[in-house]
């Protein structure tokens, strides 16, 4: 279970607060959507969950499975099951995709006390997971995400997620830059990972992603706080009314 308690966050180098007291509980087995206008702090929340050090937590706590993760480095969080699918996946020139995936998968396995995957085991796993996401394994021989289209990058994120077997998945604007077909593939990939053991936080500006990844709960984040929570119908309501009621123009 993910528990966010009274979370206050600012940018490390500045004084301006971004998150001003977030309270949120996401039990295992549930998918919660976080919606909100641009600049409301959605991506900040995603980064803080993953442990990016550009942000400073000034108050409150984040508990994952009952333990605070605030003091944990990003790689330790990943080992404990946290995964962030980036809104803008990074390109790493010079590092082959397969090398990257294998280094990551085995680093996480080591920390979880599991045996490292041998090359044949790893290749078998990659081929299977990549196949499910319509990713050509040849593409993974190229440097990580270099020259990939927006859709390919997002699929590559979900492939990483599938290989690292996280228990808390945070998806930051996974629908941005995707056409309808790619959206379907990515959503199917995410849905395949839904399980009673996994909690998911899906951050999105638009409702359309939630037609494919149907959430258990929807929260509206604006001005650094959760303003409203409800069922999946809240997303449809927002699609009609926009975020105006929260004092922001729909962007």
């Amino acid at each position: 279970m993910l528990e966010i308690k009274n979370l206050h966050v600012k940018i490390a180098e500045e004084d301006k607060p971004i998150l001003k007291g977030i309270d949120l509980v996401v039990p295992k087995g549930e998918v919660h959507a976080i919606m909100g206008p641009n600049g409301s702090g959605k991506s900040t929340l995603a980064y803080v969950l993953a442990g990016r050090d550009d942000y400073e937590v000034t108050d409150g706590d984040i508990l994952w499975n009952g333990e605070s993760i605030l003091e944990m480095a990003p790689d330790e969080r990943a080992a404990s099951g946290v995964f962030l699918a980036f809104q803008y996946p990074m390109e790493i020139p010079g590092v082959a995709g397969l090398t990257f995936l294998r280094t990551a998968a085995n680093a996480v396995r080591r920390k979880r006390g599991k045996e490292e995957l041998t090359t044949p085991e790893f290749m078998k796993l990659v081929k299977q997971k990549a196949g499910e996401l319509n990713i050509d394994v040849d593409m993974l021989k190229r440097p990580v995400n270099v020259g990939f289209s927006g859709g390919e990058k997002k699929r590559s994120e979900i492939l990483q997620m599938a290989l690292l077997e996280p228990t808390l998945c945070v998806l930051d604007e996974t629908d941005s830059g995707l056409d309808i077909d790619a959206l379907k593939v990515v959503s199917d990939g995410v849905n395949a990972l839904r399980s009673p053991e996994r909690a998911m936080v899906v951050i999105t500006h638009y409702q359309r992603l939630l037609n494919h990844i149907v959430p258990d709960k929807v929260h509206v984040l604006a001005h650094g706080r959760i303003q409203r929570s409800g069922g999946k119908e809240l997303a449809l309501e927002l699609e009609k009314s926009g975020y105006a009621e929260f004092g922001e123009k729909d962007a």
């Binding site: 480095a73 080992a79 790493i92 280094t103």
Partner: protein
């Protein structure tokens, strides 16, 4: 008015050392005279210092404290197994090896027999004949003789004189292995002279390595002359990867590229406390191609200088330079790249890039690109960057469970990989990467 400049301890020792060893150095009477002349020239010039523009960043007068004695006459007991240990990752490259220890040829440690299409002679024996002496001394090296070159001419004890026959295609790389060994610190001056005939193809590797247990201090002064014949294709790789704490590596590459030839050069420098890699390239015929790249890795107080001059004297040639440095601790990297495009050299296509990754606040990179263009129909460009490890990429890797230390190595490898990829021989490229990886971990 003449001003008497005080000689430094090192300058005095190099001068006095020469009179002590000159009788033991190889060479005909003519060679001896040239050596004496060079020693005299060195005595006049002294070690280069920061007031000389090209040496602004590397003040040898200040940085070379003393001269170590040459020990080319003393034989350190070694086996082929030792050579393999000293070569490290390069031992995995299937090559024809010619081995030198502390500046002396060691046939018993070298590959037996010959390599088809090549005539290889030791410089020491070549210098005994008028013809060989001419090849080694009267070649291009004498035309650009600075104090470091003069020191080499005076002291050079051995090296390889290589002639690749016209039209020959070498089936494996030729590896010239220079090993520093023995507990006594020493100075070694070596010279390799390589002539590649027309339409021939060759891969040549120069390795400057040390045997575990070798003295921590050492001084190497090396000159390599390469003549690339018309339509020849040459890959030339130098790996200077020492394990000592106080090793000085002074290197000069002098390469001449004939018409329609292709010359691909690469230099790796690591584990060297003070390095000056000078590269001089002369285009001698039209439609020739140069691809020069390198990686330098420094930490502690390492000082690694790459200074190159590419002279486009003829039209329609292409030159590419890509040098990448990783600097940690108080290390300092220097890149000076001068591209001359003479008036006749129309249709020249030249591009240069130097990049450094600074891993600490005290590391420093100085880059000085210089384009001297006298022709009007050319495409030339240069660039230089200096940056820290990309924080966003570090976070991305870490968020995938990769610990910071491993992520760092992965990103550094990817940074230098672009330069290492310029080596068009997979086995050599892998060995170079393995050296770098060893340095990183």
């Amino acid at each position: 008015m003449t001003v008497a400049v005080m000689k430094t301890k090192a300058e005095q020792s190099f001068a006095e050392g020469f009179s002590e060893v000159q009788e033991k150095l190889p060479g005909s009477t003519a060679v001896r005279a040239i050596r004496e002349e060079a020693a005299q020239r060195f005595a006049e010039l002294g070690l280069p210092h920061r007031r000389i523009e090209e040496w602004k960043y590397t003040d040898l007068r200040n940085q070379v404290k003393d001269a170590l004695p040459p020990r080319s006459g003393e034989k350190v007991a070694m086996t082929i197994a030792d050579v393999i240990v000293a070569l490290g990752p390069l031992a995995h490259v299937d090559a024809h090896r010619v081995v030198f220890v502390n500046g002396s040829h060691r046939p018993e440690l070298s590959s037996p027999g010959g390599l088809a299409g090549v005539n290889i002679q030791s410089l020491a024996s070549a210098l005994e004949t008028a013809e060989g002496g001419n090849a080694a001394i009267a070649g291009i090296a004498s035309q650009h003789s600075d104090a470091v070159m003069a020191l080499n001419t005076a002291y050079m004890s051995d090296g390889a004189v290589v002639q690749v026959e016209a039209g020959a295609a070498l089936d494996k790389p030729l590896m010239l292995v220079h090993i520093r060994a023995g507990k006594a610190p020493c100075f070694a001056a070596v010279r390799n002279v390589i002539e590649v005939g027309a339409k021939a193809s060759a891969r040549i590797v120069e390795a400057f390595v040390s045997l575990p247990g070798a003295a921590g201090d050492g001084q190497i002064n090396t000159v390599t002359q390469v003549n690339v014949g018309e339509e020849a294709v040459v890959t030339h790789v130098k790996v200077a990867a020492d394990a000592g704490e106080g090793v000085t590596h002074l290197s000069n590459w002098m390469s001449r590229i004939a018409k329609s030839a292709e010359y691909r050069g690469f230099q790796l420098t690591q584990g060297v406390n003070l390095a000056r890699n000078q590269i001089r390239i002369d285009f001698d015929g039209e439609d020739a191609k140069l691809d020069l790249s390198g990686v330098f890795l420094g930490r502690g107080s390492d000082h690694i200088d790459t200074t190159l001059v590419v002279d486009h004297a003829v039209p329609s040639c292409e030159s590419r330079e890509l040098f990448k440095g990783v600097l940690d601790g108080n290390a300092r990297g220097i890149f000076q790249g001068k591209i001359i495009v003479q008036q006749a050299a129309q249709k020249t296509d030249g591009k240069q890039m130097s990049q450094a990754l600074l891993l600490s606040e005290n590391a420093e990179f100085d880059s000085k690109p210089e384009l001297e263009i006298f022709a009007d129909d050319v495409v030339c460009g240069h660039g230089a960057t200096c940056a820290e490890l990309d924080k966003d990429l570090m976070f991305y890797c870490q968020s995938r469970g990769i610990p910071a230390e491993i992520a760092k190595v992965l990103l550094i490898e990817s940074f230098i990989g672009e330069a290492v990829d310029q080596i068009d021989d997979e086995a050599i490229g892998e060995a170079v990467m393995a050296f770098a990886r060893g340095w990183l971990s």
